[in-house]
């Protein structure tokens, strides 16, 4: 069953050896040379599970990878039971909301501390499980970096996602995210990143939503 059609890949809900799984298939692009197309798709099919695995080592819950089919640009991974943070953040109690935001911040802190940049930190890429863990998904745009600028851009995207999707609580939520982030990476680093975020905002470079 087709779950989501992105610009680059399609997500299917499927069954695989009696497990509920997600299949992420990167589709061929007609505009590019078949050889290059295959190269890009296989490279990304290897890169993404790699980063998902690295995130796990950093202590951030991510889906378990069951199979990687490079030739077919297909990743088979665990279907994470739970709810998208996007769907629940506005509907939980204020206390729960801050707690959840803080947890998200701690997880981002762990990623950054290990030089992992998620690249697409939106609340639709985070799943709250029945065991109160937040599982991070979609590492398709992730990269390795410890640069302040890149970390700033990563968190700035998170802030923007909160502002556009959860505008009523965005300010408090992002404050809690940064508090959780500071618990992991420390106050000094958090201040540097926060300053960077402000600088990026002033640049206005990433203003793209109405």
């Amino acid at each position: 069953m087709l779950l989501k059609k992105g610009a680059e890949a399609r997500l299917y809900l499927d069954e695989w050896h009696n497990r509920k799984v997600i299949m992420k298939k990167r589709l061929p692009k007609k505009y590019r040379l078949p050889q290059l197309d295959l190269e890009i798709r296989s490279q990304r099919t290897v890169h993404e599970p790699n980063m998902i695995h690295k995130a796990k080592i950093a202590g951030v819950p991510t889906p378990t990878i069951f199979m990687v089919d490079v030739a077919d640009a297909n990743i088979v991974m665990e279907f994470v039971e739970g709810k998208q943070v996007k769907q629940i953040l506005d509907h939980v109690s204020p206390k729960e909301r801050l707690k959840l935001s803080g947890l998200i911040g701690r997880m981002i802190g762990r990623l950054h501390k290990h030089g992992i940049i998620h690249g697409d930190l939106t609340t639709s890429n985070m799943i709250l499980t029945p065991y109160s863990k937040v599982v991070f998904v979609d590492f398709g745009l992730s990269e390795r970096s410890k640069e302040l600028e890149i970390k700033g851009v990563d968190l700035h995207l998170m802030k923007r996602a909160l502002q556009s999707t959860h505008y009523k609580h965005a300010k408090k939520c992002f404050g809690a995210v940064m508090k959780g982030y500071a618990e992991v990476v420390g106050e000094e680093e958090t201040k540097k990143v926060s300053d960077k975020i402000r600088e990026i905002e002033k640049r206005g470079r990433y203003v793209s939503d109405r």
Partner: protein
């Protein structure tokens, strides 16, 4: 002098951002009556800003006289002077700005400073009839994917280092190609690429919505000089990789904004291969594909004149004291009240 919106009002546009010095006359309705130009051709290497500015100063008189002459109007018929205020090379921009200030003062008509990047988009829209496109603007100095949202042209993706046109130019020079008047490096690389068949792997760098061409450039040069791969095949592969990168980012912006059109503009827009790739993407997203005509693709005075007219009609003028050039003027810093949306 009374001003009105009729066809009897004319704007002189002066472009001097980089290696081109251009002057054009447009009617306020958008008819391109003349589009004079003289390009600086360095004997070797790339554009030397001071040398280019010297060239502009030398040809200014000739080009500026040519514009009204070819448009069959008298200089006194000009109602508005527009000039490229940035971004670009400081010495070059200042040469054009100086000429613009002098002419506006001499003729006693208003002056409008225009953003060069906006001008490439606006001339593309004028020439193709595009209303609200996702624009891929590709040239020697810029590589930007943008779309209009809430009063401004927003940047969705851009190069993190060199522009695509710069990548092609430097590659061509490094492998010993020579450009000729009327046949810029991009066209020569394209011609060679058309005869290339086998693809050699080169680095493909897309970071989210942004692009990087410097690694690709180094690798392409090395592939030719050190691995002794046929130049045609390297050109072919370089184009395939670079244009696929551009296409991917454009497609992402198109999928995100769901705009009804894709506009290709800037000097590199003349490339047929790039055109064909973007056409495929536009088709898949049910968008109309628009490409700026070849005569208006590279830097030119017409685009400056047209954008000046749009700005002026919505009440914008640039007092002389605010007419200093802005070499790093970003696209999204431009207030564009003339665009609906």
């Amino acid at each position: 002098m009374p001003l009105n919106d009729s066809d009897n009002s004319y704007c002189l546009g002066i472009e001097s951002t980089a290696d081109d010095f251009g002057a054009a006359i447009l009617s306020f309705e958008g008819a391109v009556l003349s589009n004079a130009n003289d390009v600086y051709m360095p004997k070797k290497g790339g554009i030397h800003p001071r040398e280019a500015a010297r060239h502009h100063a030398e040809v200014a008189e000739k080009v500026l006289a040519e514009a009204p002459e070819k448009a069959k109007i008298k200089p006194r018929d000009i109602n508005l002077v527009a000039f490229s205020q940035g971004p670009g090379l400081g010495p070059c921009l200042r040469t054009g700005a100086t000429a613009a200030r002098a002419l506006s003062s001499y003729l006693g008509v208003p002056l409008v400073g225009v953003n060069h990047c906006v001008a490439h988009i606006e001339i593309g829209k004028l020439a193709t009839g595009a209303k609200d496109p996702v624009t891929l603007y590709v040239s020697g100095g810029n590589t930007i994917v943008s779309a209009f949202e809430a009063g401004k042209y927003r940047v969705f993706g851009e190069t993190l280092d060199i522009a695509i046109g710069n990548c092609l130019d430097v590659f061509a020079r490094e492998v010993g190609l020579k450009q000729r008047r009327g046949a810029p490096f991009g066209a020569i690389v394209e011609e060679l690429a058309n005869n290339g068949k086998s693809y050699v792997s080169l680095p493909y760098t897309v970071k989210g919505m942004d692009l990087s061409f410097s690694g690709l450039l180094t690798a392409a040069v090395k592939t030719f000089l050190e691995k002794k791969i046929a130049l045609e095949d390297v050109c072919f592969s370089l184009q395939e990789v670079a244009f696929s990168m551009l296409s991917e980012v454009t497609e992402r912006a198109l999928a995100h904004t769901e705009k009804p059109e894709v506009l290709l503009t800037g000097g590199v827009a003349a490339n047929k291969k790039l055109q064909s790739m973007l056409r495929v993407i536009a088709m898949e997203h049910d968008a109309r594909f628009c490409v700026v005509p070849q005569g208006l693709a590279a830097d030119n005075g017409a685009m400056i004149a047209w954008t000046g007219i749009l700005a002026y009609k919505s009440g914008l003028v640039t007092p002389v004291e605010d007419s200093y050039v802005n070499v790093k003027w970003r696209l999204e810093d431009v207030h564009a009240p003339w665009v609906e949306g």
